[in-house]
Amino acid sequence: MKAQDTLLYLDGVSVSFDGFRAINNLSLVLQAGEMRAVIGPNGAGKTTMMDIITGKTRPDAGDVYFNGDIDLTRHDEAEIALLGIGRKFQKPTVFESHTVEDNLVLALAGPRSAFSALFHRQSHDEAERIEDILYTIRLNGKRDWLAANLSHGQKQWLEIGMLLAQDPKLLLVDEPVAGMTDAETAETAKLLREIARTRSVLVVEHDMHFVRELDVKVTCLHEGSVLAEGSLDFVSNDQRVIEVYLGR
Protein backbone atom coordinates (compact mmCIF):
# COMPACT_ATOMS: atom_id res chain seq x y z
CA MET A 1 0.00 0.00 0.00
CA LYS A 2 1.21 3.50 -0.74
CA ALA A 3 1.41 6.15 1.95
CA GLN A 4 -0.32 8.68 -0.33
CA ASP A 5 -3.80 7.23 0.06
CA THR A 6 -3.79 6.98 3.84
CA LEU A 7 -4.41 9.25 6.78
CA LEU A 8 -1.83 7.65 9.03
CA TYR A 9 0.95 5.44 7.78
CA LEU A 10 3.51 3.77 10.03
CA ASP A 11 6.04 1.50 8.37
CA GLY A 12 8.91 -0.38 9.97
CA VAL A 13 8.95 1.88 13.02
CA SER A 14 11.33 0.95 15.83
CA VAL A 15 12.34 2.72 18.99
CA SER A 16 14.29 1.53 22.01
CA PHE A 17 14.84 2.97 25.44
CA ASP A 18 18.11 1.97 27.09
CA GLY A 19 18.31 -1.15 24.97
CA PHE A 20 14.68 -2.12 25.52
CA ARG A 21 12.82 -2.31 22.21
CA ALA A 22 9.50 -0.64 23.03
CA ILE A 23 8.44 -0.59 19.37
CA ASN A 24 9.81 -3.20 17.04
CA ASN A 25 9.28 -2.92 13.29
CA LEU A 26 5.70 -1.71 13.73
CA SER A 27 3.53 -1.10 10.69
CA LEU A 28 0.03 0.27 10.91
CA VAL A 29 -2.19 2.00 8.38
CA LEU A 30 -5.29 4.04 9.06
CA GLN A 31 -7.64 5.23 6.31
CA ALA A 32 -9.36 8.60 6.38
CA GLY A 33 -12.64 8.33 8.29
CA GLU A 34 -11.70 5.02 9.90
CA MET A 35 -12.01 4.17 13.57
CA ARG A 36 -9.56 1.60 14.89
CA ALA A 37 -9.24 -0.04 18.27
CA VAL A 38 -5.78 -1.03 19.48
CA ILE A 39 -5.51 -3.67 22.17
CA GLY A 40 -2.61 -5.50 23.72
CA PRO A 41 -1.04 -6.42 27.06
CA ASN A 42 0.80 -3.90 29.24
CA GLY A 43 4.13 -2.95 27.73
CA ALA A 44 3.00 -3.84 24.21
CA GLY A 45 3.97 -0.33 23.09
CA LYS A 46 0.52 1.24 22.71
CA THR A 47 1.32 4.47 24.49
CA THR A 48 4.79 4.67 22.93
CA MET A 49 3.14 4.39 19.52
CA MET A 50 1.00 7.41 20.41
CA ASP A 51 4.08 9.25 21.63
CA ILE A 52 5.70 8.67 18.25
CA ILE A 53 2.67 9.82 16.28
CA THR A 54 2.31 13.00 18.36
CA GLY A 55 6.00 13.91 18.22
CA LYS A 56 6.82 13.30 21.86
CA THR A 57 9.19 10.46 21.02
CA ARG A 58 11.33 10.22 17.90
CA PRO A 59 11.62 6.76 16.33
CA ASP A 60 15.06 5.25 15.76
CA ALA A 61 13.96 3.90 12.40
CA GLY A 62 10.93 3.76 10.14
CA ASP A 63 8.48 6.06 8.39
CA VAL A 64 5.60 7.93 9.99
CA TYR A 65 3.41 9.80 7.53
CA PHE A 66 0.24 11.78 8.15
CA ASN A 67 -2.24 12.70 5.44
CA GLY A 68 -0.14 10.90 2.86
CA ASP A 69 2.88 13.14 2.65
CA ILE A 70 3.60 14.84 5.98
CA ASP A 71 6.60 13.27 7.70
CA LEU A 72 5.64 13.41 11.37
CA THR A 73 9.15 12.63 12.59
CA ARG A 74 10.18 16.10 11.45
CA HIS A 75 7.66 17.98 13.60
CA ASP A 76 7.27 18.66 17.32
CA GLU A 77 4.16 18.28 19.51
CA ALA A 78 2.71 21.73 18.92
CA GLU A 79 3.17 21.54 15.15
CA ILE A 80 1.64 18.08 14.97
CA ALA A 81 -1.32 19.25 17.03
CA LEU A 82 -1.84 22.08 14.55
CA LEU A 83 -1.58 19.66 11.62
CA GLY A 84 -4.72 18.04 12.97
CA ILE A 85 -3.82 15.28 15.39
CA GLY A 86 -5.47 15.46 18.78
CA ARG A 87 -4.54 13.31 21.73
CA LYS A 88 -6.34 12.20 24.86
CA PHE A 89 -4.17 10.92 27.65
CA GLN A 90 -4.62 7.79 29.68
CA LYS A 91 -5.06 9.80 32.86
CA PRO A 92 -7.63 12.54 32.29
CA THR A 93 -5.61 15.72 31.82
CA VAL A 94 -7.74 18.82 31.95
CA PHE A 95 -6.86 22.23 33.35
CA GLU A 96 -8.19 21.84 36.86
CA SER A 97 -8.12 25.48 37.91
CA HIS A 98 -10.02 26.57 34.81
CA THR A 99 -13.75 26.29 34.28
CA VAL A 100 -15.19 23.71 31.92
CA GLU A 101 -15.85 26.49 29.43
CA ASP A 102 -12.32 27.92 29.65
CA ASN A 103 -10.88 24.46 29.06
CA LEU A 104 -12.76 24.38 25.77
CA VAL A 105 -11.83 27.97 24.94
CA LEU A 106 -8.17 27.03 25.23
CA ALA A 107 -8.60 23.98 23.03
CA LEU A 108 -10.68 25.71 20.36
CA ALA A 109 -9.01 25.78 16.94
CA GLY A 110 -7.65 29.20 16.08
CA PRO A 111 -4.48 31.26 16.17
CA ARG A 112 -2.02 30.01 18.75
CA SER A 113 0.47 32.86 19.01
CA ALA A 114 1.06 34.64 22.30
CA PHE A 115 0.27 38.01 20.77
CA SER A 116 -3.11 36.96 19.39
CA ALA A 117 -3.96 35.37 22.73
CA LEU A 118 -3.19 38.59 24.59
CA PHE A 119 -5.73 40.57 22.58
CA HIS A 120 -8.14 37.73 21.87
CA ARG A 121 -11.86 38.42 22.01
CA GLN A 122 -14.37 35.63 21.73
CA SER A 123 -16.34 35.77 18.50
CA HIS A 124 -19.94 34.76 18.07
CA ASP A 125 -18.81 31.73 16.07
CA GLU A 126 -16.54 30.51 18.82
CA ALA A 127 -19.25 30.89 21.43
CA GLU A 128 -21.53 28.76 19.27
CA ARG A 129 -18.90 26.05 18.77
CA ILE A 130 -18.38 25.87 22.51
CA GLU A 131 -22.12 25.64 23.06
CA ASP A 132 -22.26 22.73 20.58
CA ILE A 133 -19.40 20.86 22.17
CA LEU A 134 -20.76 21.35 25.70
CA TYR A 135 -23.94 19.74 24.47
CA THR A 136 -22.11 16.88 22.72
CA ILE A 137 -20.07 15.98 25.80
CA ARG A 138 -23.12 16.27 28.08
CA LEU A 139 -21.63 19.04 30.21
CA ASN A 140 -23.80 21.99 29.16
CA GLY A 141 -25.14 22.40 32.69
CA LYS A 142 -21.67 22.59 34.19
CA ARG A 143 -19.91 25.18 32.05
CA ASP A 144 -19.02 27.38 35.04
CA TRP A 145 -17.73 24.54 37.18
CA LEU A 146 -14.04 24.28 37.86
CA ALA A 147 -12.73 21.23 36.04
CA ALA A 148 -11.25 20.08 39.34
CA ASN A 149 -14.77 19.54 40.69
CA LEU A 150 -15.89 17.21 37.90
CA SER A 151 -16.17 13.46 38.41
CA HIS A 152 -13.61 11.19 36.81
CA GLY A 153 -15.91 10.27 33.94
CA GLN A 154 -16.85 13.90 33.33
CA LYS A 155 -13.19 14.82 33.15
CA GLN A 156 -12.72 12.16 30.49
CA TRP A 157 -15.59 13.65 28.52
CA LEU A 158 -14.27 17.16 28.95
CA GLU A 159 -10.97 16.01 27.55
CA ILE A 160 -12.73 14.44 24.59
CA GLY A 161 -14.60 17.73 24.19
CA MET A 162 -11.29 19.57 24.13
CA LEU A 163 -10.18 17.25 21.34
CA LEU A 164 -13.32 18.08 19.41
CA ALA A 165 -12.71 21.79 19.94
CA GLN A 166 -9.28 21.35 18.38
CA ASP A 167 -11.10 20.09 15.30
CA PRO A 168 -8.52 17.45 14.42
CA LYS A 169 -8.56 15.07 11.46
CA LEU A 170 -7.29 12.27 13.66
CA LEU A 171 -8.01 11.60 17.31
CA LEU A 172 -5.76 9.43 19.42
CA VAL A 173 -7.64 8.27 22.47
CA ASP A 174 -5.78 6.41 25.21
CA GLU A 175 -7.94 4.25 27.49
CA PRO A 176 -10.99 6.52 27.54
CA VAL A 177 -13.10 4.32 29.81
CA ALA A 178 -10.54 3.42 32.47
CA GLY A 179 -12.23 3.92 35.83
CA MET A 180 -15.68 4.59 34.36
CA THR A 181 -18.95 3.10 35.48
CA ASP A 182 -20.76 0.77 33.04
CA ALA A 183 -23.29 3.47 32.16
CA GLU A 184 -20.50 5.96 31.50
CA THR A 185 -18.66 3.39 29.39
CA ALA A 186 -21.69 2.80 27.19
CA GLU A 187 -22.22 6.55 26.86
CA THR A 188 -18.55 7.03 25.91
CA ALA A 189 -18.77 4.37 23.20
CA LYS A 190 -21.77 6.22 21.79
CA LEU A 191 -19.88 9.50 21.95
CA LEU A 192 -16.85 8.08 20.12
CA ARG A 193 -19.02 6.57 17.40
CA GLU A 194 -20.65 9.97 16.93
CA ILE A 195 -17.22 11.56 16.61
CA ALA A 196 -15.97 8.90 14.20
CA ARG A 197 -18.64 9.88 11.73
CA THR A 198 -16.67 12.98 10.78
CA ARG A 199 -13.08 12.07 11.62
CA SER A 200 -10.62 9.24 12.11
CA VAL A 201 -10.15 7.83 15.57
CA LEU A 202 -7.52 5.53 17.05
CA VAL A 203 -8.59 4.12 20.42
CA VAL A 204 -6.33 2.23 22.77
CA GLU A 205 -8.36 0.22 25.25
CA HIS A 206 -8.16 -2.77 27.59
CA ASP A 207 -11.87 -3.12 28.18
CA MET A 208 -12.94 -5.82 25.69
CA HIS A 209 -16.59 -5.13 26.40
CA PHE A 210 -16.08 -1.53 25.32
CA VAL A 211 -14.13 -2.57 22.21
CA ARG A 212 -17.01 -4.84 21.25
CA GLU A 213 -19.39 -1.92 21.61
CA LEU A 214 -17.25 0.21 19.30
CA ASP A 215 -17.65 -2.47 16.65
CA VAL A 216 -14.60 -1.58 14.53
CA LYS A 217 -11.45 -3.18 13.14
CA VAL A 218 -9.04 -4.22 15.88
CA THR A 219 -5.24 -4.28 15.98
CA CYS A 220 -3.52 -6.30 18.68
CA LEU A 221 0.01 -5.21 19.61
CA HIS A 222 2.54 -7.37 21.37
CA GLU A 223 6.15 -6.56 22.22
CA GLY A 224 6.15 -3.53 19.97
CA SER A 225 4.71 -5.00 16.80
CA VAL A 226 1.39 -6.09 15.31
CA LEU A 227 0.30 -9.55 16.40
CA ALA A 228 -3.06 -9.71 14.67
CA GLU A 229 -5.42 -7.41 12.86
CA GLY A 230 -9.04 -7.74 11.76
CA SER A 231 -12.51 -7.87 13.21
CA LEU A 232 -12.78 -8.37 16.95
CA ASP A 233 -14.03 -11.94 16.50
CA PHE A 234 -11.15 -12.75 14.19
CA VAL A 235 -8.55 -11.26 16.52
CA SER A 236 -9.98 -12.76 19.68
CA ASN A 237 -9.93 -16.21 18.12
CA ASP A 238 -6.28 -15.91 17.13
CA GLN A 239 -4.25 -18.45 19.13
CA ARG A 240 -1.34 -16.10 19.78
CA VAL A 241 -3.63 -13.29 20.93
CA ILE A 242 -5.33 -15.66 23.35
CA GLU A 243 -1.96 -16.76 24.60
CA VAL A 244 -0.38 -13.36 25.29
CA TYR A 245 -3.38 -11.22 26.02
CA LEU A 246 -6.80 -12.66 26.47
CA GLY A 247 -5.72 -15.65 28.51
CA ARG A 248 -7.07 -19.15 28.23
Binding site: T47, E79, R87, T93, S97, A117
Partner: protein, 393 residues
Protein backbone atom coordinates in the same frame (compact mmCIF):
# COMPACT_ATOMS: atom_id res chain seq x y z
CA UNK B 1 -15.33 55.27 28.74
CA UNK B 2 -11.78 54.94 30.00
CA UNK B 3 -13.03 53.59 33.31
CA UNK B 4 -15.19 51.10 31.46
CA UNK B 5 -12.20 49.94 29.44
CA UNK B 6 -10.25 49.66 32.68
CA UNK B 7 -12.93 47.53 34.28
CA UNK B 8 -13.01 45.00 31.47
CA UNK B 9 -9.37 44.20 32.15
CA UNK B 10 -9.15 44.55 35.94
CA UNK B 11 -11.34 42.93 38.58
CA UNK B 12 -12.84 44.88 41.49
CA UNK B 13 -10.03 44.07 43.85
CA UNK B 14 -7.41 45.13 41.30
CA UNK B 15 -9.25 48.37 40.56
CA UNK B 16 -9.43 49.12 44.27
CA UNK B 17 -5.68 48.60 44.67
CA UNK B 18 -4.91 50.77 41.64
CA UNK B 19 -7.11 53.53 43.06
CA UNK B 20 -5.45 53.16 46.46
CA UNK B 21 -1.96 53.38 44.96
CA UNK B 22 -2.85 56.47 42.94
CA UNK B 23 -4.34 58.03 46.08
CA UNK B 24 -1.22 57.46 48.17
CA UNK B 25 0.92 58.68 45.27
CA UNK B 26 -0.88 62.02 45.69
CA UNK B 27 -1.60 62.14 49.43
CA UNK B 28 1.73 61.02 50.87
CA UNK B 29 3.77 63.73 49.08
CA UNK B 30 1.14 66.32 50.01
CA UNK B 31 1.28 65.31 53.65
CA UNK B 32 5.08 65.34 53.67
CA UNK B 33 5.51 68.64 51.88
CA UNK B 34 2.56 70.77 52.96
CA UNK B 35 1.65 69.75 56.50
CA UNK B 36 3.75 71.18 59.36
CA UNK B 37 6.03 68.67 61.09
CA UNK B 38 3.91 69.00 64.24
CA UNK B 39 0.72 67.79 62.55
CA UNK B 40 -0.31 64.23 63.43
CA UNK B 41 -0.88 63.61 59.71
CA UNK B 42 2.60 64.70 58.68
CA UNK B 43 4.63 61.85 57.20
CA UNK B 44 8.34 62.43 57.85
CA UNK B 45 10.73 62.11 54.92
CA UNK B 46 12.50 59.04 56.27
CA UNK B 47 9.16 57.24 56.34
CA UNK B 48 8.31 58.37 52.81
CA UNK B 49 11.56 56.83 51.57
CA UNK B 50 11.05 53.71 53.65
CA UNK B 51 7.55 53.08 52.28
CA UNK B 52 8.86 53.96 48.83
CA UNK B 53 11.47 51.24 49.24
CA UNK B 54 8.78 48.75 50.31
CA UNK B 55 6.81 49.63 47.20
CA UNK B 56 9.79 48.90 44.95
CA UNK B 57 9.95 45.50 46.64
CA UNK B 58 6.23 45.14 46.02
CA UNK B 59 6.84 45.81 42.33
CA UNK B 60 9.52 43.11 42.28
CA UNK B 61 7.09 40.74 43.99
CA UNK B 62 4.36 41.45 41.43
CA UNK B 63 6.86 40.70 38.65
CA UNK B 64 7.93 37.46 40.31
CA UNK B 65 4.35 36.36 40.88
CA UNK B 66 3.55 36.88 37.21
CA UNK B 67 5.97 34.07 36.31
CA UNK B 68 5.70 31.94 39.44
CA UNK B 69 2.09 32.26 40.50
CA UNK B 70 0.55 32.30 37.05
CA UNK B 71 2.97 30.31 34.93
CA UNK B 72 4.67 28.03 37.45
CA UNK B 73 8.20 29.24 36.71
CA UNK B 74 9.85 29.50 40.12
CA UNK B 75 12.64 32.02 39.63
CA UNK B 76 15.22 32.10 42.39
CA UNK B 77 17.13 34.81 40.56
CA UNK B 78 14.72 37.67 40.02
CA UNK B 79 16.96 39.85 42.18
CA UNK B 80 19.38 39.84 39.23
CA UNK B 81 16.94 41.72 37.00
CA UNK B 82 16.12 44.07 39.87
CA UNK B 83 19.81 44.79 40.42
CA UNK B 84 20.52 45.29 36.71
CA UNK B 85 17.75 47.89 36.51
CA UNK B 86 19.25 49.44 39.62
CA UNK B 87 22.71 49.58 38.09
CA UNK B 88 21.38 51.24 34.95
CA UNK B 89 19.79 53.94 37.09
CA UNK B 90 22.91 54.11 39.26
CA UNK B 91 25.09 54.75 36.20
CA UNK B 92 22.88 57.67 35.23
CA UNK B 93 23.07 59.07 38.75
CA UNK B 94 26.88 58.69 38.76
CA UNK B 95 27.14 60.64 35.52
CA UNK B 96 25.01 63.40 37.05
CA UNK B 97 27.60 63.96 39.80
CA UNK B 98 29.94 65.49 37.23
CA UNK B 99 32.80 67.54 38.70
CA UNK B 100 31.29 67.45 42.21
CA UNK B 101 32.99 64.13 42.99
CA UNK B 102 35.88 63.86 45.45
CA UNK B 103 38.38 63.84 42.57
CA UNK B 104 36.42 66.49 40.68
CA UNK B 105 36.83 64.78 37.32
CA UNK B 106 34.13 66.22 35.01
CA UNK B 107 33.51 62.92 33.24
CA UNK B 108 34.92 59.97 35.17
CA UNK B 109 33.14 58.78 38.30
CA UNK B 110 35.32 58.73 41.41
CA UNK B 111 35.99 55.00 41.43
CA UNK B 112 37.41 55.14 37.90
CA UNK B 113 39.77 57.97 38.84
CA UNK B 114 40.78 55.97 41.88
CA UNK B 115 41.52 52.94 39.68
CA UNK B 116 43.58 55.17 37.40
CA UNK B 117 41.31 54.78 34.39
CA UNK B 118 41.92 57.38 31.72
CA UNK B 119 38.66 57.34 29.85
CA UNK B 120 35.07 56.27 30.19
CA UNK B 121 34.47 52.60 29.18
CA UNK B 122 32.24 52.29 26.10
CA UNK B 123 29.30 50.89 28.02
CA UNK B 124 29.12 54.02 30.20
CA UNK B 125 28.43 56.23 27.20
CA UNK B 126 24.90 57.52 26.88
CA UNK B 127 24.13 57.15 30.56
CA UNK B 128 24.42 60.92 31.01
CA UNK B 129 21.00 61.11 29.34
CA UNK B 130 18.04 60.13 31.46
CA UNK B 131 16.06 58.76 28.51
CA UNK B 132 18.94 56.47 27.60
CA UNK B 133 19.29 55.19 31.15
CA UNK B 134 15.52 54.70 31.38
CA UNK B 135 15.62 52.66 28.20
CA UNK B 136 18.47 50.53 29.54
CA UNK B 137 16.54 49.97 32.78
CA UNK B 138 14.06 47.84 30.84
CA UNK B 139 16.26 46.77 27.91
CA UNK B 140 19.17 45.22 29.80
CA UNK B 141 17.10 42.98 32.11
CA UNK B 142 14.71 42.34 29.23
CA UNK B 143 17.44 41.20 26.83
CA UNK B 144 19.18 39.08 29.44
CA UNK B 145 15.89 37.44 30.34
CA UNK B 146 15.08 36.91 26.68
CA UNK B 147 18.41 35.23 25.94
CA UNK B 148 18.28 33.16 29.13
CA UNK B 149 14.65 32.20 28.62
CA UNK B 150 15.11 31.40 24.93
CA UNK B 151 17.79 28.87 25.78
CA UNK B 152 16.14 27.45 28.89
CA UNK B 153 12.54 27.17 27.70
CA UNK B 154 13.44 25.85 24.26
CA UNK B 155 15.47 23.07 25.88
CA UNK B 156 12.47 22.44 28.16
CA UNK B 157 14.31 23.09 31.37
CA UNK B 158 11.58 23.23 33.99
CA UNK B 159 10.87 22.91 37.68
CA UNK B 160 13.67 22.74 40.16
CA UNK B 161 16.34 22.63 37.43
CA UNK B 162 15.22 25.98 36.13
CA UNK B 163 15.13 27.40 39.65
CA UNK B 164 18.71 26.28 40.17
CA UNK B 165 20.02 27.87 37.01
CA UNK B 166 18.25 31.16 37.79
CA UNK B 167 20.04 31.03 41.10
CA UNK B 168 23.32 30.37 39.29
CA UNK B 169 22.60 33.33 37.00
CA UNK B 170 22.28 35.79 39.85
CA UNK B 171 25.29 34.29 41.62
CA UNK B 172 27.43 34.58 38.49
CA UNK B 173 26.41 38.24 38.16
CA UNK B 174 27.21 38.77 41.83
CA UNK B 175 30.76 37.51 41.29
CA UNK B 176 31.16 39.46 38.07
CA UNK B 177 30.03 42.75 39.58
CA UNK B 178 32.38 42.30 42.53
CA UNK B 179 35.33 42.58 40.15
CA UNK B 180 36.79 46.07 39.83
CA UNK B 181 37.69 45.49 36.14
CA UNK B 182 34.00 45.11 35.27
CA UNK B 183 33.71 48.88 35.51
CA UNK B 184 30.75 49.08 37.86
CA UNK B 185 32.54 50.16 41.01
CA UNK B 186 33.37 46.66 42.27
CA UNK B 187 32.63 45.88 45.87
CA UNK B 188 31.54 49.43 46.72
CA UNK B 189 29.10 49.73 43.86
CA UNK B 190 27.72 53.11 42.91
CA UNK B 191 26.83 55.74 45.50
CA UNK B 192 27.18 59.39 46.58
CA UNK B 193 24.46 60.44 44.16
CA UNK B 194 23.69 64.16 43.91
CA UNK B 195 20.86 64.89 41.47
CA UNK B 196 18.19 63.18 39.47
CA UNK B 197 16.78 65.09 36.47
CA UNK B 198 18.45 68.21 37.89
CA UNK B 199 16.77 67.97 41.31
CA UNK B 200 18.72 67.40 44.50
CA UNK B 201 18.23 63.75 45.37
CA UNK B 202 18.27 64.47 49.12
CA UNK B 203 15.54 67.12 48.99
CA UNK B 204 12.18 66.30 50.56
CA UNK B 205 10.35 67.24 47.38
CA UNK B 206 12.51 64.91 45.23
CA UNK B 207 11.99 62.06 47.66
CA UNK B 208 8.26 62.64 47.61
CA UNK B 209 8.24 62.61 43.82
CA UNK B 210 10.27 59.39 43.74
CA UNK B 211 7.71 57.92 46.11
CA UNK B 212 4.85 59.06 43.90
CA UNK B 213 6.55 57.61 40.82
CA UNK B 214 7.03 54.28 42.59
CA UNK B 215 3.39 54.09 43.69
CA UNK B 216 2.25 54.90 40.15
CA UNK B 217 4.54 52.25 38.66
CA UNK B 218 3.17 49.65 41.08
CA UNK B 219 -0.34 50.68 39.99
CA UNK B 220 0.74 50.30 36.36
CA UNK B 221 2.20 46.87 37.11
CA UNK B 222 -1.08 45.80 38.73
CA UNK B 223 -2.89 46.91 35.60
CA UNK B 224 -0.48 45.18 33.20
CA UNK B 225 -0.55 41.98 35.25
CA UNK B 226 -4.36 42.04 35.39
CA UNK B 227 -4.52 42.65 31.66
CA UNK B 228 -2.26 39.68 30.95
CA UNK B 229 -3.83 37.35 33.49
CA UNK B 230 -7.40 38.07 32.44
CA UNK B 231 -6.70 37.69 28.73
CA UNK B 232 -6.73 34.37 26.91
CA UNK B 233 -2.96 34.46 27.19
CA UNK B 234 -3.36 34.41 30.96
CA UNK B 235 -5.50 31.29 30.69
CA UNK B 236 -2.81 29.68 28.56
CA UNK B 237 -0.22 30.54 31.22
CA UNK B 238 -2.28 28.92 33.97
CA UNK B 239 -2.72 25.92 31.67
CA UNK B 240 1.04 25.73 31.27
CA UNK B 241 1.43 25.92 35.04
CA UNK B 242 -1.03 23.08 35.68
CA UNK B 243 -0.42 20.73 32.73
CA UNK B 244 2.36 21.89 30.45
CA UNK B 245 2.47 19.00 28.02
CA UNK B 246 -1.34 19.06 27.60
CA UNK B 247 -0.94 22.62 26.42
CA UNK B 248 1.65 21.49 23.91
CA UNK B 249 -0.61 18.75 22.56
CA UNK B 250 -3.28 21.42 22.06
CA UNK B 251 -0.88 23.11 19.65
CA UNK B 252 0.48 25.91 21.85
CA UNK B 253 4.15 26.79 21.62
CA UNK B 254 4.65 26.70 25.36
CA UNK B 255 8.21 28.01 25.16
CA UNK B 256 7.13 31.23 23.44
CA UNK B 257 4.43 31.93 26.00
CA UNK B 258 6.90 31.40 28.80
CA UNK B 259 9.46 33.58 27.08
CA UNK B 260 6.95 36.40 26.67
CA UNK B 261 5.85 36.48 30.28
CA UNK B 262 9.38 35.89 31.57
CA UNK B 263 10.74 38.87 29.63
CA UNK B 264 7.89 41.15 30.72
CA UNK B 265 8.48 40.10 34.30
CA UNK B 266 12.22 40.81 34.08
CA UNK B 267 11.50 44.29 32.70
CA UNK B 268 9.14 44.99 35.60
CA UNK B 269 11.82 43.84 38.01
CA UNK B 270 14.30 46.17 36.27
CA UNK B 271 11.96 49.13 36.77
CA UNK B 272 11.61 48.20 40.44
CA UNK B 273 15.40 48.25 40.81
CA UNK B 274 15.67 51.60 39.05
CA UNK B 275 13.16 53.13 41.48
CA UNK B 276 14.89 51.51 44.43
CA UNK B 277 18.37 52.93 43.84
CA UNK B 278 17.64 56.68 44.06
CA UNK B 279 15.54 56.10 47.20
CA UNK B 280 18.16 54.13 49.12
CA UNK B 281 21.11 56.03 47.62
CA UNK B 282 23.33 53.08 46.73
CA UNK B 283 23.60 50.05 44.49
CA UNK B 284 26.29 47.43 45.03
CA UNK B 285 26.83 43.79 44.09
CA UNK B 286 25.15 42.54 47.27
CA UNK B 287 21.84 43.20 45.51
CA UNK B 288 22.69 40.13 43.40
CA UNK B 289 22.87 37.93 46.54
CA UNK B 290 20.83 34.77 45.95
CA UNK B 291 19.33 35.32 49.40
CA UNK B 292 17.61 38.50 48.13
CA UNK B 293 15.89 36.58 45.36
CA UNK B 294 14.79 33.91 47.80
CA UNK B 295 13.41 36.57 50.12
CA UNK B 296 11.33 37.87 47.23
CA UNK B 297 9.90 34.38 46.78
CA UNK B 298 8.91 34.41 50.45
CA UNK B 299 7.07 37.75 50.03
CA UNK B 300 5.03 36.26 47.22
CA UNK B 301 4.34 33.06 49.14
CA UNK B 302 3.25 35.00 52.23
CA UNK B 303 0.95 37.32 50.31
CA UNK B 304 -0.51 34.61 48.10
CA UNK B 305 0.91 33.44 44.82
CA UNK B 306 -1.34 33.34 41.83
CA UNK B 307 -3.10 36.50 42.99
CA UNK B 308 -2.37 39.99 41.74
CA UNK B 309 -2.33 41.95 44.98
CA UNK B 310 -1.10 39.20 47.31
CA UNK B 311 2.55 39.87 46.42
CA UNK B 312 2.13 43.56 47.26
CA UNK B 313 0.70 42.73 50.67
CA UNK B 314 3.39 40.12 51.27
CA UNK B 315 6.28 42.37 50.26
CA UNK B 316 5.11 45.29 52.40
CA UNK B 317 4.26 43.17 55.46
CA UNK B 318 7.43 41.06 55.46
CA UNK B 319 9.64 44.10 54.95
CA UNK B 320 7.84 46.03 57.64
CA UNK B 321 8.52 43.05 59.90
CA UNK B 322 12.12 43.01 58.76
CA UNK B 323 12.61 46.71 59.55
CA UNK B 324 11.08 46.24 62.98
CA UNK B 325 12.82 42.99 63.90
CA UNK B 326 16.27 43.88 62.62
CA UNK B 327 16.13 46.99 64.83
CA UNK B 328 14.48 45.46 67.90
CA UNK B 329 15.90 41.91 67.89
CA UNK B 330 18.59 41.83 65.21
CA UNK B 331 19.78 38.34 66.12
CA UNK B 332 16.45 36.61 65.58
CA UNK B 333 15.37 38.13 62.25
CA UNK B 334 16.68 35.31 60.07
CA UNK B 335 15.06 32.74 62.33
CA UNK B 336 11.79 34.65 62.15
CA UNK B 337 12.02 34.76 58.33
CA UNK B 338 12.75 31.04 58.16
CA UNK B 339 9.89 30.27 60.55
CA UNK B 340 7.58 32.45 58.50
CA UNK B 341 8.41 30.51 55.36
CA UNK B 342 7.81 27.19 57.09
CA UNK B 343 4.52 28.35 58.60
CA UNK B 344 3.27 29.71 55.28
CA UNK B 345 4.28 26.56 53.40
CA UNK B 346 2.69 24.23 55.94
CA UNK B 347 -0.42 26.11 56.99
CA UNK B 348 -1.07 28.83 54.42
CA UNK B 349 -0.20 27.34 51.02
CA UNK B 350 -2.22 30.08 49.36
CA UNK B 351 -0.83 32.87 51.53
CA UNK B 352 -2.68 35.60 53.34
CA UNK B 353 -5.07 36.24 50.46
CA UNK B 354 -5.86 32.54 50.24
CA UNK B 355 -6.70 32.56 53.94
CA UNK B 356 -8.95 35.55 53.42
CA UNK B 357 -10.54 33.83 50.41
CA UNK B 358 -11.35 30.67 52.34
CA UNK B 359 -12.80 32.70 55.21
CA UNK B 360 -14.98 34.56 52.80
CA UNK B 361 -16.08 31.33 51.09
CA UNK B 362 -16.92 29.75 54.45
CA UNK B 363 -18.89 32.83 55.43
CA UNK B 364 -20.80 32.85 52.14
CA UNK B 365 -21.53 29.16 52.54
CA UNK B 366 -22.89 29.69 56.02
CA UNK B 367 -25.13 32.50 54.80
CA UNK B 368 -26.30 30.39 51.86
CA UNK B 369 -26.95 27.36 54.04
CA UNK B 370 -29.16 29.46 56.29
CA UNK B 371 -31.10 30.61 53.25
CA UNK B 372 -31.46 27.33 51.37
CA UNK B 373 -29.45 24.25 50.41
CA UNK B 374 -25.74 24.20 49.61
CA UNK B 375 -24.61 26.06 46.49
CA UNK B 376 -22.98 24.19 43.64
CA UNK B 377 -19.21 24.48 43.52
CA UNK B 378 -19.10 27.21 40.88
CA UNK B 379 -15.89 28.92 40.04
CA UNK B 380 -14.99 32.11 41.82
CA UNK B 381 -13.65 34.67 39.37
CA UNK B 382 -10.95 35.61 41.86
CA UNK B 383 -10.20 32.04 42.62
CA UNK B 384 -6.82 31.65 44.19
CA UNK B 385 -6.92 27.92 43.89
CA UNK B 386 -3.69 26.32 42.79
CA UNK B 387 -3.87 22.57 42.43
CA UNK B 388 -0.71 20.60 42.65
CA UNK B 389 0.93 20.79 39.26
CA UNK B 390 0.29 17.56 37.49
CA UNK B 391 2.25 16.19 34.59
CA UNK B 392 0.27 15.17 31.59
CA UNK B 393 0.35 11.42 31.54
Amino acid sequence: MITQWLFTHVDRRGAFVIALLVAIAVLVPLSNLLLPATSPFHIPTYLVSLIGKYLTYALLAVALDLVWGFCGILSLGHGAFFALGGYAMGMYLMRQIGPRGVYADPVLPDFMVFLNWKELPWFWHGFNHFWFAALMVVLVPGLLAFAFGWLAFRSRVTGVYLSIITQALTYALLLAFFRNDMGFGGNNGLTDFKDILGYNIQADSTRSMLFAATALFVALAVFVTSFIVRSKLGKVLVGVRDAESRMRFLGYRVDRYKLFVWTISAMMAGIAGALYVPQVGIINPSEFEPANSIEAVIWVAVGGRGTIIGPIIGAVLVNFGKTYFTAAFPEIWLFALGALFIIVTLFLPKGILGLYGSWKARWAERVARKRDGGPPPVADANSTQIPEPQAAE
